[in-house]
């Protein structure tokens, strides 16, 4: 036991005395969550539009007013010809153009049938789709406000309720995803250099010629970094609540517990990399590059896994961050308890045991 404690103490001293690295380890996740939290978003906000109003009557103005005052759109300018509409699209300045025909109000009032043309820049199909949807729903609302006093037979009005995220904020799905990404990268990187560093410095040679068991070396190397990770967890949760405005609906203790479990998974992946890498550089590179893409692609927060081809869906199952993403979303956003995430939790526990087990089994008890 004394062996174990002194080893942890030694590792803590290494971390504590290397202030620059410690600083990076604590700041990197904070910077990353801010960067990803604000930059990685597919939310549509303040998209630039132009309005070509040929009618210039009461109805078209009211509708224009409503469209440009919504938080999805911001009016770049009014244009007065189709050529202008096309020109602004070509300049890439706008995403959407709204065109009212001549006699908009008259047709609406007298024929009960008026048209509004929406032209969207579909070079980005998802955004184009979303923008036209938003615009259509604003138009629908306007139409209904007109119909309030008239009894129109047979109308079906869908009543929509956005559960868990009523304002449809992108941060709700991104924060859990970014948490998964940041913990995976930072924690794996921390431990990936832990063992290979001793190999490079030559201290492994002396450690090996001692009664220390591989099991103890590996666990003792993980624990100090777990402490650093816990600081990271605290920082990230505080930031998501106070800066990114994502509330923690579920049980905080459970969320922290699951986060600790996931950081242990990431730390053990790092240890595994460290076991096989020959230099600190390879270790760092493997943990950054080798984990970044799978985490980004297969966590499910950027690209829905259900839409992927079956082989990719199967591959996504071996990516730990996918399970953590599900857990965080369930606890943090939906407010569910352990009862709903026990399966994912067990998967993470299993993965951690596997990675640590392989690291201990494959720990090189000799130099070559």
């Amino acid at each position: 036991m004394g062996q174990f404690i002194i080893f942890i103490k030694k590792e803590l001293l290494h971390i504590w005395r290397d202030r620059r690295t410690l600083f990076i380890l604590i700041w990197m996740p904070i910077v990353q969550i801010l960067l990803y939290g604000f930059a990685l978003t597919n939310e549509v906000k303040n998209s630039k539009i132009v309005i070509f109003d040929q009618a210039r009557d009461e109805a078209s103005r009211a509708l224009s007013q409503q469209i440009s005052s919504s938080r999805y759109f911001s009016l770049l300018k009014n244009v007065y010809s189709y050529e202008d509409v096309e020109a602004t699209f070509k300049q890439g300045k706008i995403r959407l153009a709204v065109i009212f025909p001549r006699n908009f109000r008259e047709e609406l009032m007298h024929t009960n049938h008026a048209q509004v043309q929406l032209i969207a820049d579909a070079s980005d199909p998802n955004t184009a789709n979303m923008l036209t949807n938003y615009a259509s729903s604003i138009i629908n609302d306007y139409q209904q406000s007109l119909n309030q006093n008239q009894a129109i037979p047979y109308t079906i009005r869908p009543q929509m309720r956005m559960l868990y995220n009523p304002e449809l904020k992108g941060a709700y799905s991104f924060v859990p995803g970014v948490m998964a990404l940041v913990f995976m990268l930072v924690c794996a990187m921390m431990t990936s250099i832990a063992i290979v560093k001793e190999k490079e410095l030559g201290t492994m040679e002396v450690i090996l010629v001692s009664p220390l068991k591989p099991f103890r070396i590996i666990i003792a190397k993980t624990i100090p970094y777990l402490l650093v990770s816990m600081i990271n967890i605290a920082c990230i949760l505080l930031m998501s609540v106070y800066i990114l405005d994502v509330p923690i609906v579920g049980n905080l203790a459970l969320l922290i517990g699951e986060s600790i479990l996931f950081t242990i998974t990431a730390l053990s992946i790092g240890i595994l990399i460290s076991n096989f890498a020959k230099t600190q550089q390879t270790a760092m590179f493997t943990s950054m590059m080798g984990l970044f893409l799978p985490t980004l692609l297969f966590s499910g927060f950027l690209f829905p896994i259900e839409n992927m081809p079956i082989p990719l869906q199967i591959i996504s199952n071996i990516v730990p961050s996918k399970w953590y993403y599900i857990i965080v979303k369930s606890i943090m956003i939906k407010g569910l308890g352990l009862g709903s995430v026990w399966k994912e939790t067990l998967i993470l526990v299993g993965m951690t045991t596997f990675f640590l087990g392989v690291s201990i089994r494959k720990f090189k008890i000799r130099l070559a």
Binding site: R17, E205, V206, P211, L212
Partner: protein, 312 residues
């Protein structure tokens, strides 16, 4: 009782596809309990490879080695508890202080500094005033003392020191050897490797090694006794021309520079001094000097190397 036995040890390293570097070729020797055994040879002779096999860090391609009667492959766990090892490269934690390093190594061997303080007292006392200092900021000599203290703190039965005096100043080297002799009185077997021939005389027995092969194993005296032919030291004002003139004589077996002199050996021990005088006279060398010398370890090493080179 034999503390360390090495028989027919072979160690190869892969070098590209299908080719290997033969670092140790069929080496055998044994070390008695409580003796200082030196493995002496130039860089690349295979010293570190032998040490790493004996300290259970590398697996050999052939041969059988035991330490303390334990097999280095089968009983590696037990061996690791008993031996002390100081690698050639300084391998302590540079960002930990002197005291922290020592405490760490004491604890991982399940002991304490207090328990074995007597053993390291002489050595550690010299660096104790700097115990708060980081190991990375120590001088070369102090680093060696700390490394030795760390290797000794668990009272090992066999101590392996791989080139402990390389890169250490002359005074610290002398002190270091004095420490080893004090440790010997505690009954610790010491295996030490060095590229310095002048340190050979400080060992009880030595193995001369070159290109992975043992040239000779004997006491330092025994090795010099094996050298049967008389040896002469010659010098003059023009050393380089003198060497060429001596080597031009067919009666000369070898001639090489040694300090301020050339050491000369003849094929047959007759009229040597006359022959040398003749060379000096005919070559018109100024300040010529000729004297007989006792061959040292380095002379024996050169002779053995030459012998091995010609005979296989």
């Amino acid at each position: 009782m034999q503390s360390v036995t090495v028989s027919h040890l072979i160690k190869n390293y892969p070098a590209g596809k299908k080719s290997v570097v033969e670092a140790v070729r069929d080496v055998s020797f044994s070390v008695d309990k409580g003796e200082i055994f030196g493995i002496i040879g130039p860089d690349g002779a295979g010293k570190t490879s032998i040490f790493r096999v004996l300290t259970t860090l590398l697996l050999a391609e052939g041969g059988k080695c035991t330490v303390d009667g334990l097999d280095v492959v089968k009983d590696y766990k037990e061996i690791r508890k008993r031996i002390g090892y100081m690698p050639g490269k300084f391998s302590l934690y540079q960002d930990l202080s002197v005291q922290e390093n020592l405490e760490f190594f004491a604890t991982i061997f399940n002991t304490t500094i207090e328990k074995n303080y007597d053993l390291i007292k002489d050595i550690y006392a010299q660096i104790e005033p700097f115990k708060e200092r980081k190991a990375g900021q120590l001088s070369g000599g102090m680093k060696q003392k700390l490394a030795l203290s760390c290797a000794l703190i668990h009272k090992p039965t066999v101590l392996f020191l791989d080139e402990p005096t390389t890169g250490v100043d002359a005074v610290s080297r002398k002190e270091f050897w004095e420490m080893l002799h004090r440790l010997k009185t505690q009954g610790i077997t010491i295996l030490v490797s060095t590229p310095y021939m002048d340190e050979a005389g400080l060992c009880d027995r030595i193995a001369l090694i070159q290109k992975g092969k043992i040239l000779s194993v004997n006491t330092p005296k025994g090795i010099t006794k094996e050298f049967k032919k008389p040896m002469w030291a010659v010098r003059s004002a023009e050393m380089f021309r003198l060497m060429n003139s001596i080597l031009a004589d067919p009666a000369v077996e070898s001639c090489y520079p040694f300090g301020q002199y050339h050491h000369v050996v003849f094929h047959n021990a007759e009229n040597e001094i006359q022959k040398l005088e003749q060379i000096i006279r005919e070559g018109n060398f100024q300040n010529g000097e000729i004297k007989p010398v006792e061959p040292g370890i380095e002379d024996c090493f050169m002779a053995l190397m030459k012998e091995q080179g010609t005979h296989g």
